[in-house]
């Protein structure tokens, strides 16, 4: 095989129409980038200066300062608790929501739309925006953070769970209907076991995501490690900020290891 063979082989994969589509897409992409570059509101002098500024900043982070390490670790633990408790509550609440939002279990049209409405509003508002709202309501602190993460997670878990319910094998359901079992028992015996794997997988996945999310709640006053990070940055205490960042890195990596372990163990 020679180079030109390969070359021709490649392009033979695309019909002229597809090729036109591709060119059009690239052109569109280029135009979009051009438009954005040309009109974005930045001070270009700052942009050229950025590498120096970044270097300077990282320079000031070294060496990280561990004097407050015990406080940092304690607050990190609190962060884990926020993520865990919020995930647990979100999982419990998302069960009935998923039930409403799945076409094959929802009692009627109205409940279907109610379920979908809950999922969409929960999902499309970011945790931080939820946190802004709940800090305004509950005041700064961990409670606002937990509620914010919960509100965002319900949509995520509920949506995936609802899809899992819609995709179940309907034949066992039919078999239990034929035995004269009630609706609730059919759910308990034919639907729940089938969505269990998804349930665990989604819960673990969301816990892992929430661990990350809970590290930033503090920036809007909703508890967790973010508060310390914000404090260190505001006082230009970069060595301590570096310690916090390292702690977060370790936390997130540990979280991934734990969730990988749980996934293997449970699924």
């Amino acid at each position: 095989m020679t180079l030109s063979d390969l070359h021709r082989d490649d392009w033979a994969r695309f019909t002229p129409r597809q090729r036109m589509q591709r060119y059009a897409m690239f052109l569109l992409g280029a135009l979009a980038v051009g438009w954005a570059l040309g009109s974005i509101d930045v001070i270009w002098a700052w942009v050229w200066d950025a590498p120096v500024q970044m270097g300077d900043l990282f320079g000031r982070m070294i060496p990280p300062d561990p004097t407050n390490l015990d406080t940092i670790l304690w607050v990190l633990w609190e962060t884990v608790n926020i993520a865990t408790i919020a995930t647990a509550f979100a999982v419990l609440i998302s069960l009935p929501v998923a039930y409403l939002a799945a076409q094959n279990t929802t009692p009627n049209r109205a409940t279907l739309w109610l379920g979908r409405f809950i999922l969409v509003s929960s999902r499309s508002i970011n945790t931080i925006i939820w946190a802004l709202l709940f800090v305004a309501i509950f005041g700064p602190g961990i409670v606002a953070g937990i509620v914010a993460i919960m509100f965002r997670s319900i949509g995520f878990i509920g949506k995936l769970l609802g899809e899992a319910i819609e995709e179940i094998d309907k034949r066992p359901v039919e078999a239990l209907e034929a035995t004269g079992a009630s609706r609730f028992k059919i759910i308990a015996y034919a639907i729940v076991p089938q969505v269990m794997p998804t349930f665990w997988a989604v819960s673990i996945l969301r816990w892992d995501i929430n661990l990350r999310e809970s590290t930033v709640l503090g920036l809007v006053g909703a508890g967790g490690i973010g508060i310390i990070l914000q404090g260190a940055i505001d006082t230009f205490n970069w060595p301590e900020a570096a310690t916090v960042l390292l702690a977060i890195l370790v936390l997130v990596i540990l979280g991934e290891i734990v969730s990988a372990f749980l996934r293997r163990r449970i699924l």
Binding site: V42, D49, Q230, L245
Partner: protein, 263 residues
């Protein structure tokens, strides 16, 4: 048939009873303890409900009076998302090659993986406050943040794709005496291209979402508009912005899903 058994227990998930009860007990204690020690100030919560009423009262009806500001904010978010996707995808390609076990020598592989892990581990909001400190408030910090965010996802997925490629073509090229870069262009790129386009569109959608968030800590875009409105107790404007964000996210999700289905 004489064995008339009349008891049955579902096989437990954890066979060892000591371990099983230890796990149950541990989980129970943990949950009770964390909930019990939550610093809930009920007076504050009761007051908060009043406040919630005020917020929601102030938020209805949503006000689109300053829609000029809203549109500007959105256009800025869009620009941030486009530039960050462009930069992020561009940077992701070399990083993905570094992080592909079948192409890179070990030290480079570890470097590539480390970059990806770091980019993935930090929430964009954290990355954003650091960039805001380094390069100042505004959309540029937002672009840098989302470039990092894009690398975390795109480079990871791309590296996995590269690890799955069909090596026959690469070897054919090498056998033909093609130089390294030509091999790259003619044997590997065509194989990862379709995935790359899908990932790019997906990432553009993600970046648009994320840009609404990083703005809250000062990195430009609609998020900044929202944070300002919230800070000035303009709850009706904040609700309008939130509604528009939700709408745009839904549209963008649908569009990106459609496009990815087509290709």
């Amino acid at each position: 048939m004489s064995t008339a058994r009349d008891t049955w227990h579902r096989p437990p998930f954890i066979a060892n009873p000591i371990l099983r009860w230890a796990v149950y007990l541990g989980v129970g204690v943990y949950v009770l303890w964390t909930i019990a020690t939550l610093p809930i100030d009920w007076a504050r919560v009761a007051e908060g409900l009043e406040r919630a009423q005020r917020i929601f009262g102030g938020a209805f009806p949503p006000s689109f009076a300053r829609s000029g500001l809203l549109i500007d904010g959105f256009l800025e978010s869009l620009k941030i998302a486009i530039l960050a996707t462009f930069g992020g995808v561009l940077l992701s390609i070399p990083i993905a090659f570094m992080a592909a076990r079948n192409i890179s020598p070990l030290p480079i592989y570890y470097l590539g993986r480390a970059l990806i892990i770091i980019a993935r581990s930090f929430h964009p909001v954290i990355v954003a406050i650091i960039f805001v400190k380094a390069v100042g408030f505004g959309p540029f910090a937002g672009v840098l943040t989302l470039v990092v965010y894009s690398i975390g996802f795109v480079a990871k997925m791309l590296a996995e794709r590269i690890e799955e490629i069909d090596f026959g073509q690469v070897e054919a090229m090498r056998a033909a005496g093609a130089p390294y870069l030509s091999t790259l262009f003619y044997a590997i790129f065509p194989q990862i291209m379709p995935r790359q386009i899908g990932l790019t569109i997906y990432q553009l959608d993600s970046n648009l979402r994320a840009s609404a968030v990083v703005g809250i800590v000062g990195a430009g875009g609609i998020g900044s508009t929202l944070a300002n409105a919230f800070g000035r107790y303009d709850y009706d404007f904040a609700l309008a912005i939130t509604m528009v964000i939700v709408g745009v996210i839904l549209v963008s999700e649908a569009v990106s899903g459609q496009i990815r289905k087509r290709i």
